[in-house]
């Protein structure tokens, strides 16, 4: 990878990325437009939510004007736009705090899960996909097919509940819901918000061990889905690459088979795989909504569900914007890597 990063190529990749950013900005505007429109169709009267149902019509009207709801829709959108761009996503009805502050607080917990799950998916799923493509119809191929089918077919919330019954309730092998056991809560300062990193910073290994044991179940569960997806995609990319003639060339040269597979073929897969990993990261954010609900994991997913159930629209739309933006950013980054890594795209 390093060899590709010469100065000239880096520059070209950068200009292309700038064009990409322009497209992303348009997409981002569209994203805000959608959340804005969703906010307008809400059956709950936002004014009523503020002033309460006992307010007189005069108070109601004043609140309506104060909230800018008497303006034409496009003006309201610009007001919305400027406040979002200033980082003002409104105030949460549930926590009475700015939504953005809430999200900053809960987000690291979700990232911790999604990151570990992605690691699991990459380091287990990709080798599994490669091996099953090489020996098609072999034992590993069958295993990977079953793993994939289960991953595409099992409802994650159900699997999570079953895992809780088996590993926590019945055999007590792993701790139950939450990020740490109750009596460890609040011991470590949330400096970064990432529990494991905070423990390391505080050199508190007892809490670290406890937090790690709490991470195992939800991270493995999410990781399973990421692995299922990555192994299937890797398999089909590999099958495609192994059919190419340059593979025959490498074999004609007398290159050892493992080098042909893990060097030549996987090397060519690694470029599309970047996009797939980015996509699977997005899917993980999705899966985290259900997983966090079950494991009482205080992340963005749980925050979103709680807001939903309490009709806290500012928080719901705020979380949606944040997740959408992260998704966009991850895609942008993967496009950038693509351009830097693929000699043909430069």
């Amino acid at each position: 990878m390093v060899q590709f990063l010469t100065k000239k190529r880096f520059k070209k990749a950068t200009t292309q990325t700038l064009q990409l950013i322009a497209i992303v900005l348009i997409t981002f505007l569209g994203l805000l437009l959608i959340t804005f429109l969703i906010g307008r169709v809400v059956p709950i009267d936002p004014v009523l939510a503020v002033v309460g149902d006992k307010a007189s019509s005069e108070v109601y009207e004043r609140a309506r004007i104060a909230m800018g709801l008497h303006l034409p829709l496009w003006q309201q959108f610009f007001i919305y736009l400027s406040s979002v761009l200033r980082g003002d996503l409104g105030t949460s009805v549930l926590t009475a705090k700015p939504v953005l502050d809430d999200i900053f607080r809960v987000f690291p917990a979700t990232m911790e899960l999604a990151f570990l799950a992605t690691l699991f998916g990459v380091f287990v799923g990709i080798p599994l996909g490669v091996l099953s493509a090489v020996k098609r119809g072999g034992l590993l191929d069958h295993i990977s097919r079953v793993v994939g089918l289960l991953g595409y077919s099992l409802p994650i919330f159900w699997l999570a509940l079953l895992a809780l019954i088996v590993f926590y309730a019945k055999f007590d092998l792993l701790p139950g819901p939450g990020r740490v056991d109750i009596f460890y809560e609040g011991i470590v300062d949330p400096i970064t918000g990432f529990m494991l990193i905070d423990c390391i910073l505080a050199r508190d290994w007892e809490v670290f061990r406890n937090a790690l044991s709490h991470l195992i179940m939800p991270a493995t569960l999410l990781g399973y889905y990421s692995m299922a997806y990555l192994s299937r995609m890797t398999r089909s990319f590999m099958i495609e690459q192994l059919r190419q003639e340059y593979i025959l060339t490498a074999r004609v040269k007398g290159v050892a088979e493992w080098k042909v597979i893990w060097g030549h073929a996987l090397g060519n897969c690694s470029i599309p795989l970047i996009t797939v990993i980015a996509l699977s990261f997005g899917t993980l954010l999705e899966g985290s909504v259900l997983t966090e609900t079950i494991f009482a994991w205080p992340g963005l997913g749980l925050y979103l569900t709680n807001s939903l159930l309490n009709a806290d629209m500012n928080s719901v739309l705020g979380s949606t914007i944040v997740v959408g933006s992260i998704f966009l950013a991850v895609n942008l980054f993967s496009d950038f890597l693509y351009k830097v890594m693929d000699p043909r795209a430069r």
């Binding site: 569209g30 437009l33 906010g39 089918l149 595409y152 409802p155 919330f157 909504v289």
Partner: protein, 306 residues
Amino acid sequence: MTEKTTTYSSTKEWLLTDTPASALQAAAGRAYLGLLEFLKNRLAVLGLMIIVALVFVALFAPYIAPFDPILTDLKHRLLPFSAEHFFGTDELGRDIFSRIIWGSRLTLYVIGLVAIIAAPVGIIVGTVAGYFGGIVDMVLMRITDIFLAFPKLILALAFVAALGPGIENAIIAISITSWPPYARIARGETITIRNSDFIRAIRLQGAGPIRIISGHIMPLCLSSLIVRVTLDMAGIILTAAGLGFLGLGAQPPSPEWGAMTSSGRSYILDHWWLITMPGTAIFVVSLAFNLLGDGLREVLDPKSDN
């Protein structure tokens, strides 16, 4: 082959001949080979059988289900498996087996409506964008990309939050988030077909864009779209169940499988069957669509994978 009129000793031979005499014979032969290929894939056949069984169960739910799915019977709550209650009873004394049977109607309802709404929208947007290109393509694809920029479930959640919980709103939300990939596929296919000679020939005969798109391009996009929609059905079932589980889809007391799993949550320690059975139902149906989709892909879209 020296004779002018070839005689076939069997139907099979007629189907498999290398020199079909008519377009019909060629099409029949291709369909036959496709069918053979499909039938060879036993898992795909199994998937199809499960789906047929699901439709059957949904149609005849009143005759199959031994109990009323809604009526509570607190005297018989939380009973384990028995000859009377195959899957036991839930926290309100309702027969879980009967609820799952009735729940198949809801599942079918969701996937049917989503397919009817999302697939046509996707194919129209995609073919129009692909056929006209230029500014039309740019605008339509930008819109598609905006919808693709959200993870599906999150956007569906936001829509449901706005529209209010309920199965119809869940269907609308899922449909709104499902069409963009279909548009992408249809656009890709259209661009490859658009410049082919036979489309030019049709254009020379004076056919307008609507006729070309609907009569000649759409049919050619269908096979890859059918594969994708079938595979997506599995994901749609999971999303709908997820919404139900979060309390945002079908509302109690309706026997939606995701909602059933959710209401059984509080009892999982001692009464595991409350969540096991509806979860298994979700899994089996979603698996069936995955198996069928894989099988169809091998027949209809042989380039893609194997």
